[in-house]
Symmetry: C2
Subunit: 338 residues, 2 copies
DNA sequence: AAATAGTAGTTAAGCGTTTAACTATTATAC
DNA sequence: GTATAATAGTTAAACGCTTAACTACTATTT
């Protein structure tokens, strides 16, 4: 690979001149610029980013962090959408993405991740930060690297989906259809801040409508999977007489629908099932799933934009992104009210 | 951030000693090692990767390249599975991933990508290489960086899914059910080498069974999307009397099923529909889709393993990964043969 | 005529590592 | 008792770039 020195020699100028011409420093004659550029052209010079990084402290590399606790992170449908949003913004500005998916444990993220964060490799960080267990963005870890959190982690700059509003409009929809006996299929809320907010939205809305949320039958041993949705639906339906199942995510909702059908009920005629996320399968499934679209690509876009503002020494405003209720075929008024 | 120099001073030894102790070079007393390690511990020293990269030429960064032509790459269901496989192998070895999704045009990949490839940032490359348009791994681009291709690009080290075997077993399944009038829903094969192989498998198998593949009604203006699957199914069913639709991917197959149902036919009773990929929705859809699982995570695992072999100066063998036929509910014998 | 400002480039230090080459001490062989 | 090898550490060059500080010349101001 040609270096600055070779370009300089070929152009008959000093190394510094080449470096400065390439970074558009003023005070060079057109003649000099031309000589430099044609030498660059001929040799096919491209900067050695490692050297540039060492010298300038800038790598043009953005870390995108998806921590996980139990299962691999790539089963989370948010991930690819966020990645897509961040990637678009980075590419536009000539930045590249370093993808890291550290495993989280009570003693914090794994060694490999800590090395990356403190390596001076990353100009900035965008991190999913929803897990109470331990923040991947704790100040001790990231030193002075600018960072934006996606989620509820304790961090000055963040983007979140409005889980409260999302779960509120979801429960409002179910209640407004006339449902009074509602089962909740969810996961342990200590796993996820966003889940806590969704619970809060469900509860507040139910109680505002005069329902006793505390007495709703609940299955909270789910793990976001289809299988746990099936299990949850089975448990709730075997014990109680509900007309609707509100699920904490789409995969559990799709599992629930299958279980409901397997037990001889129809969706939505006998039982309404709603989810949260609007994954691809939600639209395709039959019956198509009523759910909340949290517009995940927008999370990525906004987070990246905020990060570049920070890199530009601006102070960005944190953002809460509103969700969208997608009413499809899996929700309808309860039988009794028809 | 503490540097080697500070650690050396604190430990009362030279910089070189610290560096060597940290890389487990022999010939140091336990006493010296202890002093160094406790200084490292106390200061929380972590190496500056940019400096290490410049000095040693090793960054411990692996480029993972997903080129795209028209639509964003993240809609491709392969991507997340491959990423998952590569990530697992990299993480195990202390490597990090640089994700790049260059847009391909007839004059090759975009500038930003070329800079990355020749920047000395990447120790190795894993690239999806299926598009005839221009290889992201052409020797002129990647200089001496070791690379493994996933797909049919002209490259010495590659991993591919056995598209020929996959499409063969898919067509064998349909033919063995008794179908003779079969519609093909596909995309322009110049877009993708793997598609060419799938076509070949379909054709050979049909002809081996004594059928005239050339006269099968075909829709080849698809773009992998659900919408184009619906359009294709509509066109084929309006013109010809087929009992089965073989689709080049699952999304088109799911679109086709919806269109078939919308036109008043039942799947699989009236018309069999099969797909290719085994995306999540394929299992969830009702009727569940008969399709080919190409075991994408395995592609990522194998590619990464080959790359690390290369980095280790070994010569890996290229791999063709067999697929698995998933027979579900969307395929059945044609009416006439019952 | 001297001082100042603007233009056009060069020199050289520094970024934090790695590692070849070197010194110095101690152990082993013959 | 000297040569050789093994052990234990240091010195200093190199990686390729950025940039502050400097030189040198020309144009303008006072």
């Amino acid at each position: 690979m040609p270096t600055l020195a070779e370009v300089a020699q070929k152009a008959g100028v000093s190394i510094a001149t080449v470096s400065k011409v390439l970074s558009n420093t003023p005070y060079f004659t057109e003649e000099t610029r031309r000589k430099v550029m044609s030498a660059v052209e001929e040799l096919g010079y491209l900067p050695n980013l490692a050297a540039r990084a060492l010298s300038s402290g800038k790598t043009h590399l953005i870390g995108v962090i998806f921590p996980y606790v139990y299962e691999g992170i790539f089963t989370d449908p948010l991930v690819q959408y966020i990645l897509e949003g961040v990637e678009a913004e980075c590419n536009e500005r000539g930045y590249n993405i370093v993808l890291s998916t550290p495993r989280l444990s009570p003693d914090g993220p794994e060694e490999n991740y800590r090395r990356l964060l403190q390596s001076s490799y990353l100009d900035g960080i965008v991190a999913l930060d929803n897990v109470p267990l331990s923040s991947v963005l704790s100040p001790s870890l990231r030193k002075n690297t600018p960072a934006v959190a996606i989620g509820y982690g304790d961090h000055p700059y963040f983007v979140r989906s409005d889980d409260l509003q999302g779960s509120t409009s979801l429960m409002e929809h179910v209640v407004s259809l006339g449902h009074r006996h509602i089962g909740i299929l969810t996961v342990d809320e200590s796993l996820h801040y966003s889940i806590q907010n969704r619970h809060l939205g469900l509860q507040t809305t139910a109680e505002t409508a005069g329902l006793n949320y505390a007495q709703f039958p609940k299955f909270d041993r789910g793990d976001f999977s289809i299988a746990s949705g099936m299990q949850g639906a089975a448990e709730v339906l075997n014990q109680e007489n509900v007309t609707a199942l509100v699920c904490i995510n789409d995969r559990m909702a799709l599992g629930a629908i299958q279980q409901v059908q397997k037990m001889g009920f129809r969706v939505p005629d006998d039982i309404t099932v709603v989810g949260y996320d609007d994954i691809l399968s939600a639209q395709l499934f039959s019956p198509a799933l009523t759910t909340i679209d949290q517009r995940a690509p927008e999370l990525g876009h906004q987070a990246a934009q905020m990060l570049f503002a920070l890199l530009n020494n601006e102070i960005p405003d944190s953002v809460v992104i509103p969700t969208r209720l997608c009413i499809r075929e899996s929700s309808a008024p309860p039988k009794s009210s028809r």
